[in-house]
């Protein structure tokens, strides 16, 4: 994982969020819920290419990337974002319906800051990942 800014926290001002996921019901629900919790979902993307483009254009504060993006891999997108100069400093959190355990090694090898299960997605859970020291960010977001 990439070393995050020490003590990084989502600021009180509206955090600008990009969600990359290929599932419509989830996009609609997560957007509504996170907006309701005071986050500003500035865009959603349904493919890795679209996600990369939105990230470059909008420079969101945080990007949520689904591990399984249809034919694309969320791990690959996280790697691409970290490798592109323009997006290398953006925070990325991986999400999935699968439990973190299943992908633990791939998550810890990824430059993403951590993982949040989709069923536990909330502003609080995202802040938990950002709050933890870098070495501990792939732990269960709810625990």
């Amino acid at each position: 994982m990439r070393a995050a800014r020490p003590g990084a926290m989502l600021p009180v001002v509206a955090v600008r969020l990009l969600i990359v996921d290929d599932n419509e019901p989830f996009l609609a629900a997560s957007r509504a819920v996170l907006q309701g919790q005071g986050l500003d979902v500035v865009a959603v993307a349904r493919t890795a290419a679209e996600g990369l483009l939105r990230a470059q254009l909008l420079r969101p504060d945080l990007i949520l990337v689904d591990i399984e993006l249809g034919d694309d891999s969320g791990f690959d997108l996280a790697r691409q974002l970290a490798d592109e100069g323009e997006t290398a400093d953006l925070d990325v959190i991986l999400i999935s319906t699968h439990p973190e355990d299943d992908f633990a090694d791939l998550i810890s090898e990824s430059p993403a800051l951590g993982f949040v299960s989709k069923s536990e997605l909330s502003r609080f859970a995202l802040e938990e990942v950002l709050r933890r020291p870098p070495s501990d960010r792939c732990g269960d977001a709810a625990g």
Binding site: N23, P25, F26, A28, A29, S30, A32, V33, G36, Q37, I67, E68, S73, F75, T97, H98, P99, D101, D102, F103, A104, D105, L106, K118, S119, L121, S122
Partner: protein
């Protein structure tokens, strides 16, 4: 008369000693030539297909006669006449002689001659012709004198043939038995093909033995090759059928066939054979379940004709070959059908997992998120409603977890995303019994092999926790270019019976479907060890029958 007795006695001694037939032939033509008032004596053997071959000759200084070659039985000449009548014959003037043998006699300076048949075991074997280069007919008793010699000749030939026949029969039976043993052992078809071409090559007076499989596109593939011209017909070579050649004739007629010249051979097979220097050949079809599967062809590069009964003797081998091919085809068809069934089941499981993940699970997550948002808006005075919604949310979370478990059991998503090693690590993390993983470096493997290996480890870990009361499981995985190897050992109670417990049987079926080996070692008190080997390369065997 005394001279004749002495000559007959000398020949009889040779025959009684069991001298080779060629020696007896040479002695007879010489004795006949010297005893009778003749300038030449020739011995001819009748061959398959209405021809005759000169096998020995004697001539005085006046005659010029070349032994050798094969001649058609036609025209007015003694060899043909004896063949047609089975009786002695006489030609008083070669001026009337016709047919290739008659013309040859006239050109060799023959003027008059007599001939008597050689009858071996009631069957017309050949003829002896003796004659002069001078004018005038031969004495009236010449046929009679000649007949005394041909009787001795017949005895010599019968003896030699029965000795040779017995020895040959024994060799042939031994060769057939060796091939039959290979077939019965279920040896790979290519081994059986190689054995047959070699046995046939060593058994018969041939220079090359080839075996080919007929392909649906009017071509043949060489599947066995032995002898001098093998480099022109290497195994795997594909040749088009068509034109005038043995392989095409056998394919089209489904019957044995023979060629005595390659001068008029055409088509890719015929031209390659002519370039290889073949002079004569015999081909026998291999009939597998009523269709002409292939052909065995034995070729000679010399002028000597191939044995007349070669077709019949090759048939013994082609019947064994047909059995080997039919066996291999049914084995291959069975294995392919097992593999298809397993692959179809795996595809179906992957599809269920995808459908659950993309549909049901995403909708459940969306509902959970929306319910969570709704709960957050419940005003504090409606605490009853708040806790009601909380119970619904808990129930939903339980359903979500259950669906997730079911989905993982159907097909683990990590296998597709991360490969076997990541999936094994995930299994190890979830295992109720601690797992020590020893994964040697290896790249991604074919999906069906990764799936099989995953299920083996998954089942082994479940057994270790449920039945073996193990406290540690050791999982070792190694792979090179050719083989994936897995060893799984637990320190539990052992005594697992692979023939009961359907789990182990199912795993063993799955591994065998991939052509692999599955071994269970489970002594009471010594833990359980599973050893698995899966080949990563598919063995080339007989092509499955055309669908």
């Amino acid at each position: 008369m005394d001279d004749e007795h002495a000559a007959l006695r000398r020949v009889a001694t040779l025959v009684a000693r069991g001298s080779p037939p060629e020696d007896v032939f040479a002695a007879v033509t010489q004795e006949v030539g010297q005893l009778l008032p003749v300038d030449f004596a020739i011995m001819a053997r009748y061959e398959f297909g209405g021809t005759a071959t000169y096998v020995a000759s004697w001539e005085s200084r006046e005659a010029r006669f070349e032994v050798g070659g094969r001649w058609p039985l036609e025209g007015n000449n003694l060899v043909t006449r004896v063949f047609e009548t089975g009786s002695p014959a006489r030609l008083d003037s070669y001026a009337d002689a016709t047919g290739p043998m008659g013309v040859l006699g006239r050109e060799s300076g023959f003027r008059a001659a007599v001939a008597t048949p050689i009858v071996v075991d009631g069957h017309l074997w050949g003829a002896v012709v003796a004659g002069s280069t001078g004018d005038g007919p031969l004495p009236a008793d010449t046929e009679e004198s000649l007949a005394d010699f041909t009787e001795l000749l017949a005895t010599a030939i019968a003896n030699a043939e029965s000795r040779a026949g017995l020895a040959r029969l024994a060799e042939e039976q031994a060769a057939l038995r060796r091939v039959a043993t290979l077939v019965a052992q279920g040896a790979p078809s290519e081994d059986v093909f190689a054995a047959v071409t070699e046995e046939v090559g060593q058994l018969f007076p041939v220079d090359f033995v080839g075996m080919a499989r007929y392909e649906p596109d009017y071509s043949e593939t060489i599947v066995g090759s032995w002898g001098g011209a093998a480099e022109r017909f290497t195994v795997g070579t594909r040749l088009s059928l068509g034109g005038h050649n043995l392989a095409t004739i056998v394919f089209e007629t489904g019957r044995p066939s023979r060629r005595d010249t390659y001068a008029d051979a055409s088509g890719q097979v015929g031209e390659t054979a002519r370039e290889a220097g073949f002079r004569s050949s015999v081909g026998t079809p291999m009939l597998v379940e009523g269709r002409v599967w292939g052909v065995v062809i034995a070729c000679s590069s010399t002028d000597d004709p191939l044995p007349a009964d070669l077709e019949a003797r090759l048939a013994g081998f082609t019947e064994l070959l047909a059995t080997a091919v039919a066996n291999a085809e049914s084995r291959a068809a069975l294995a392919a059908s097992r593999a298809r069934i397993v692959a179809a089941a795996d595809r179906a499981r992957r599809r269920f997992e995808r459908d659950l993940h993309d549909g049901t699970q995403q909708r459940l997550v969306a509902l959970m998120l929306e319910l969570g948002a709704a709960r957050a808006t419940v005003p504090p005075e409606l605490s009853e409603l708040g806790s009601e919604l909380g119970r619904v949310a808990d129930g939903l979370a339980t359903v979500f977890d259950e669906v997730r478990e079911i989905s993982r059991g159907i097909h683990p998503a990590i296998l597709a995303k991360g490969g076997l090693d990541q999936a094994l690590k995930a299994l190890a993390r979830r295992s109720a019994v601690p797992v020590q993983l020893d994964l040697r470096p290896a790249g991604r493997l074919p999906t069906n092999i990764e799936v099989a290996a995953y299920y083996v480890v998954s089942e082994a870990l479940a057994n270790a926790a449920k039945h073996a009361c193990a406290s540690l499981v050791y999982v070792w995985r190694d792979a090179d270019d050719a083989t994936l190897r897995l060893a799984i050992h637990d320190d539990g109670i052992g005594g697992a019976d692979p023939t009961r417990g359907s789990g182990l049987v199912g795993l063993s079926d799955r591994i065998e479907t991939l052509g692999g080996r599955f071994e269970v070692i489970s002594l009471a008190g010594a833990g359980t060890t599973l050893l698995i080997e899966i080949p990563l390369r598919i063995r080339s065997d007989v092509a499955p029958p055309e669908a």
